[in-house]
Each structure stands twice: as structure tokens, then as C-alpha cells.
């Protein structure tokens, strides 16, 4: 693994291709966004009308929605690769396999960021939380959390690519391993909704960052060994 010009060019080319396909079809984004809205709405029905309770579970609902959106998006991406069987071709074409991994993870990150950008106004509206003051801090937490979700999710989605039960196996593998990220993100977001600042959330930010860095390094290190023929 070496970060040089060719590596960046290859990763950029794969990413551009994926984003262009998605821009035309808008399949992955649509399914992720609609699913996120659905989760938020369904949770509204199950919580009831107690405003204090709604406020308390708001952060959890947001992250559960994003977690499931990650799974939905990755499943759709994997399905499309499977239908066209193009991943093998790409694997043969790139010299450095981790370029492929990084491109896929980046694509997922971009989808998730756009989805969370779209869902935040609806979320603030339906959960009656005022996010304007904490928006920059919330952006930091969301971005850090989304990096972790995408890295881990992409690694697992490429693992289950050739497995018969991949639709079931992806969440089964992905959800338990992402528990630390989920806990830290939910409580950091909850504290922000309660009016705390980013400085109060140092522990959570460190935890999420460590999670991101550890799994990013690990994924890049072992991805070559995973896909080599």
C-alpha cells in the first residue's frame, strides 16, 4: 500500500464512475433517504406523544435510521455490482486493491452525508428539537460517525459480496461490530441536543475518532489479502 499518484488516480476514477452512475439512476440515494424518513416516522408512532420522551430518544432514532440507511445503501451497491459482475473486472484493472476499497467507502460516505443533510430538517421538525445553535458541532459528530459507518460497512459489504445469504449476513456482521460507534454517536448527539458544546464531548469524539482510524487502517491493510486471487 502506497499513497502515490497512481493510487489516488485509481481511487478517484472508481469513485467518479460510481457517482456518475448514481447521479443518473439515483437508486441508492433514493432508497436510503426514503428508508431513513420511514424509520423516523415509524419511531414517532411507537414513542407516543410525550414531548420529553420524544426529545430523549431523538438522538437514538437519528442514528438507528442512519445505521439502517448504511445497510440499505450498501446492499443496493453490492446488488448492482453482482448484477453486472463488474467488480472482478475492476479488481483486475487496479494495481492496488485498497484503492477500490477507499473509493467504495468514500462513495458510501458521500451518500450518507447527503442523506443526513436532507433528513436533519425533517428530524428537527418532527422531534421538535432546535438544532440551529449546535449545527456545526452536530456536523462534526455526524461526519466522524459516518466515516466509521462507511468504512466498516464497506469492508463487510465487500466480504459478503459472493455469499448466498448476503442480504441477511450484512446487517448480522455489521450491526454488532458497530456498537461502540453507535453508543458514542448517540450520546454525543443527545448531549448536543441538550445544549452542551463540543468541548463537553471530548471523550465521545476521541472514541469515535479512534474507531474510525483503527478500522480504516485495518481495512486498508487487510483488504489486499482478502480479495487476492
Amino acid at each position: 500500500m502506497s499513497v502515490n499518484g497512481a493510487f489516488v488516480r485509481q481511487a478517484g476514477a472508481i469513485l467518479a464512475k460510481d457517482l456518475k452512475t448514481e447521479w443518473r439512476a439515483r437508486e441508492i440515494f433514493t432508497s436510503m433517504f426514503v428508508f431513513t424518513v420511514l424509520v423516523v416516522v415509524v419511531f414517532q408512532f411507537t414513542i407516543g406523544s410525550n414531548p420529553a420522551l420524544i426529545r430523549e430518544v431523538a438522538a437514538g432514532v437519528l442514528w438507528v435510521a442512519l445505521l439502517f440507511a448504511t445497510v440499505i445503501g450498501l446492499q443496493r451497491a453490492v446488488q448492482m455490482e453482482g448484477e453486472e459482475d463488474c467488480l472482478q473486472g475492476v479488481l483486475l484493472a487496479v494495481q492496488d486493491r485498497s484503492a477500490l476499497f477507499l473509493a467504495k467507502a468514500l462513495a458510501n460516505m458521500i451518500y450518507l452525508l447527503v442523506v443526513s443533510g436532507c433528513i436533519l430538517p425533517l428530524f428537527a421538525l418532527w422531534f421538535r428539537v432546535d438544532l440551529t445553535a449546535s449545527l456545526p458541532a452536530l456536523g462534526v459528530i455526524l461526519a466522524l460517525g459516518i466515516v466509521g459507518l462507511s468504512v466498516l460497512g464497506t469492508l463487510f459489504s465487500l466480504i459478503v459480496l459472493n455469499i448466498r445469504m448476503r442480504e441477511v449476513m450484512l446487517p448480522l456482521l455489521f450491526l454488532p461490530v458497530s456498537v461502540p460507534l453507535l453508543i458514542a454517536s448517540v450520546y454525543a448527539t443527545g448531549d448536543l441536543i441538550d445544549g452542551k458544546t463540543l468541548a463537553d464531548l471530548r471523550d465521545y469524539v476521541i472514541l469515535i475518532t479512534v474507531f474510525d482510524v483503527v478500522f480504516l487502517v485495518l481495512a486498508v491493510l487487510i483488504f489486499d489479502y482478502v480479495v487476492e486471487e
Partner: protein
Amino acid sequence: MAGGEKKRHPLSLWPGWYATLTYVAMVAALWCIFVYAPTEKAQGIVQRIFYFHVSSAMTMFVAFFVVFVASIIYLWKHADWWDQTAMSAAELGVLFCTLVLITGPIWGRPIWGVWWTWDPTLTLTLVLWLIYVAYLMLRADATDPRRARFAAVLGIVGFIDVPLIRWSIEKWRNLHPEPVVVQSGGTTGLPPAMMLTFLVSLAAFLLLFVFLLRQRMAVARRRHELEVLRHKVDEALFG
């Protein structure tokens, strides 16, 4: 070798001796637990669950550590033996993890008054159970020949996740009784007789783990052999 007497390699006697040793250690542990160890004053006799409960938990961590190391070496060397080690250790880890999850509530019910609390250690064990059950499902289902490599990734990711899960859950909630075996400052909180009983139980469980691991790996090896034979028969008949 028709009728010829099989030459017995000295090492071939080892499994029998090893099984006997494991059995003796288990019986010794039981004797220590039910006869030798004093009854704890505050918790009464249920405290005796501690010896097998914590031994199972430590054996589980040893098992998952074996999965981790074997997975790394497998990804690196691609030798079947390491994959079989990882898979067998994962299955045993789930077995011991299940025992921890069952005996924990049985101990907790009379002490805490509830079957389950979301305390850090219990929650960590539950999350580990979910991760490694997924590992076994990945092994059982995958039809791709590269499944061993995929499982190895999960074996590595799962174990690296352990401190992170522990850290996050501790931030989340804290109810569990302080670890009593080794307290801060290096002094042990257990009286000597209880400590000895615990160490004997732990030794017995680790011996049992190695014994079961060898048996499980024999099954894995035979399964592999069977697949190779099937392939050969297909070739001989149709190829």
C-alpha cells in the same frame, strides 16, 4: 498391513492421558468449589457460581484471542490448519460465551434481584456473542471458496472491537460489581482459599478448552478430507 500389529508412536498415547488429566482437573475443581472453598458471607452459596462463571469468561476470551491470532496467520500464510484452528476456537468461544450468559443471570438474580442488568461486562459478553455467532453463520453459509478469508477478517475485526466496545459501554452505564480477582494496587480481593479454588477452576477450564479444540479440529480436518475425496471420486467416475 493385514493382521500386522500397529506400531504405537509414544505420542499416540497422549490424547488418552490428556483426557484423563482434564477429567482429574475438572473433578479437583469441583471438589475445591463445593468442599474446600469457604462460603462467602455476604452472598451465601450462590457465590460458588463465580468459579465456573469467571473461568468460562476467561476461557471465552482465550478462545477469541486464538481466533484473532489464527486469523491473522491464515490471511498471511494461507495454510488450512490455521483456518481450522480459528473456526474451531470460534465455535468453542461461542459455547463458553453462552455458558457465561446463562450462569451470569442465575448468579445475578439472587444477588441483584433481577435476571439481567445492562452492566458493562454482561453487555460486552452479549455483543461478543452476537459477533461470533455471525462469524459461525458466515462460515456455515458461505459457498465461496474464499469464505475462510472472509471469516478471518471478521475474526480480526471482532477482536479488535473488544476494547472499543468495552470502552463505549463503560461510558454508557456502570452497575457491575468491581472486579474482585485483581483489585487496583495489585492486591487480590479474594481470600487465599477462594483464590486457589478459582485458579484450579481456571486451569481445568483451559485444559478442557485445549481438549475440545483438538477434537473440534479433528472434525474440521475430516470434513476437509471428505471434500477432497468427494472431488476425487467425481473425477474418477465422470472426469
